[in-house]
Symmetry: C2
Subunit: 340 residues, 2 copies
């Protein structure tokens, strides 16, 4: 059984190790933290912690560093995530408050989180959920290629190209446009996808083919969630902390470009909505990320589905302040923006 003080020692070890990057010994602990006991006592506690595999010694006669399990216990203990300073709150508000559209808001958000945490920041693009179709526009690129644009009342714009089975001229395209706007206009995305999936028995077979091609493209778009996109910032922080990644940051860099990996990871973190979820070190091994921790929190922008934002960094990171920053920004997005 680990005593209360042992846990305090673990905290001290994590903090000092994160700060100094060097294994921390018993003497250093009594010096930097005011436990009322001697170094020998701390050593006894450390022996305990080592037995529990919460800390480990890189080599026989050196200080200890936290294990993944140690970080996990440390983080779980961190109920008292210290809130952001007033200045930081203010920074969030002024920095994000001015954003005009969603793209800009997310771009600013992710840069802000990168700056606050000094880590790689990631934000998942929130899908437009229960938005309604406002307008459908068709743009002819070639006789048999049409750009389909779907505009929602929440301000989202989706575009995609449809390949047509037959060429169409401008007049026909206009007719189709009107027809499709009739079908989809002012409907919720799911409904629009539904009503676009019908047949077009009342027009000439050649036109019906074209209409069906266009409608199915639009239906796809209506179904498509934009949650499959990530916005990233702060890659420089990754390079800065490179030495903390035992292997190399290659895996992380690849995970960023292969957004799928991070998205799956975010998906698995979906539990416990508005708290900050943390995955530490080997817990991410199945994603090709070793020595890597991922924190994330859910947020919700009015009119859009719940989404996530977070940071990716070395296992040896400042969890306390990173969690505080992630939580504060996620809350800001969910609450303050929700009020408007």
């Amino acid at each position: 059984m680990v005593s209360e003080r042992s846990l305090a020692v673990l905290r001290a070890i994590v903090q000092d190790y994160v700060a100094s990057r060097e294994p921390v010994g018993s003497k250093a602990i009594v010096e930097r933290h005011s436990f009322g006991v001697s170094a020998a006592t701390i050593r006894n506690d450390m022996a305990l912690l080592e037995e529990e595999e919460l800390i480990a010694a890189p080599h026989t006669s050196s200080g200890r560093i936290p294990t993944d399990k140690g970080y996990r216990v440390f983080v779980d203990q961190l109920t008292d995530v210290r809130p952001m300073s007033r200045a930081q709150r203010l920074a969030i508000e002024t920095f994000l408050g001015e954003s005009s559209d969603l793209d800009e808001l997310l771009a600013r958000t992710v840069r802000l989180v990168a700056q606050l945490t000094k880590q790689l920041a990631v934000v998942q693009y929130p899908s437009f959920g229960s938005a309604r179709v406002r307008h459908v526009e068709l743009v002819s690129l070639a006789p048999d290629r049409v750009l389909c644009i779907l505009i929602t009342d929440s301000g989202q714009v989706e575009q995609r190209v449809a390949e047509l089975p037959n060429p169409v001229d401008e007049a026909a395209l206009s007719a189709h446009r009107a027809r499709l706007n009739d079908l989809a206009g002012n409907r919720a995305m799911a409904d629009a996808a539904e009503s676009l999936s019908g047949e077009f028995a009342d027009v000439a077979p050649a036109d019906a083919l074209v209409l069906r091609a266009l409608a199915s493209t639009l239906a796809d778009q209506a179904r498509a969630q934009r949650q499959d996109r990530l916005v990233v910032a702060g890659a420089a922080n990754l390079v800065r902390t490179e030495q903390d990644f035992a292997g190399s940051i290659l895996g992380v860099i690849e995970a960023i470009e292969e957004q799928v990996v991070l998205l799956r990871l975010f998906g698995e973190m979906a539990a416990d909505e508005h708290a900050v979820a943390v995955r530490i070190g080997r817990e991410n091994a199945s994603f090709g990320l070793g020595e890597t921790s991922v924190l994330s929190s859910a947020f919700e922008i009015p009119g859009r589905d719940i989404s996530r934002l977070g940071v990716v960094g070395p296992t040896r990171m400042d969890y306390s302040s990173s969690m505080a920053a992630v939580r504060a920004v996620a809350r800001y997005l969910s609450r303050t923006l929700g009020e408007n």
Copy 2:
């Protein structure tokens, strides 16, 4: 004066150094390349090259490595960029040929270049140049915030939020929409920007204010070039070659996130349209990029302005094959796609 053979020696040094990462000595040269002369002769040539500052010795008694100036001479000599293999050409065609819209084409392009060159690849988003306005859509986000969407006949979609001086209801917005479509619809971008800049003397002053706000937002969009965006891929390659960057790759990573830097750099390379332009090492120092070379070539997609694509990598890179790849892809985009 540098003799013909001296230049051959320079070529050999560049090639061997790029391949081996190690200073190359006179003996290694006679072994790996079949000059018909002895090592001592090569040494004489090397002394010459050193006098010209084309190569340098890291320390007194070691082989030589090319200087920036040496790379420059090497690259300028490379008139005979070796063409891509048939297999590679095929790869380009199959990989890019399937792309449906511009976004996807560029995303594929940049990934392809990254893969071919094993470097960080960058492509500049081509602006839509002389396109025409097809449709203007307004979406009310709040009573005094409207999302303005500009759709062009080349399939470009621009969106931006306008803040209104007075709130408007849906009916008024519909009227404004019709009016603005009248003004801008089917005009070239520049013309549309022009005609949107007029007064609205015929409506109530409150409405005129709103209309002017909307019109000026749209006019801005019509003027906005999308050339101020970059698409990037292959960051992992940067990490892989990290040791070749003396300082660190931090500057490069920052330049990628701060797209402005790379865009300015591309801007300066605009000369000599369809050849591959190369900037080597210190030539980029003013951009905060040391030990870094940038190659780029112009390309032109029908209906859009000329733009550039290229790669960023360590000074010590395989110029020959990288230039070949950049050139081949740029040509493919310009020619093959132009035929459709």
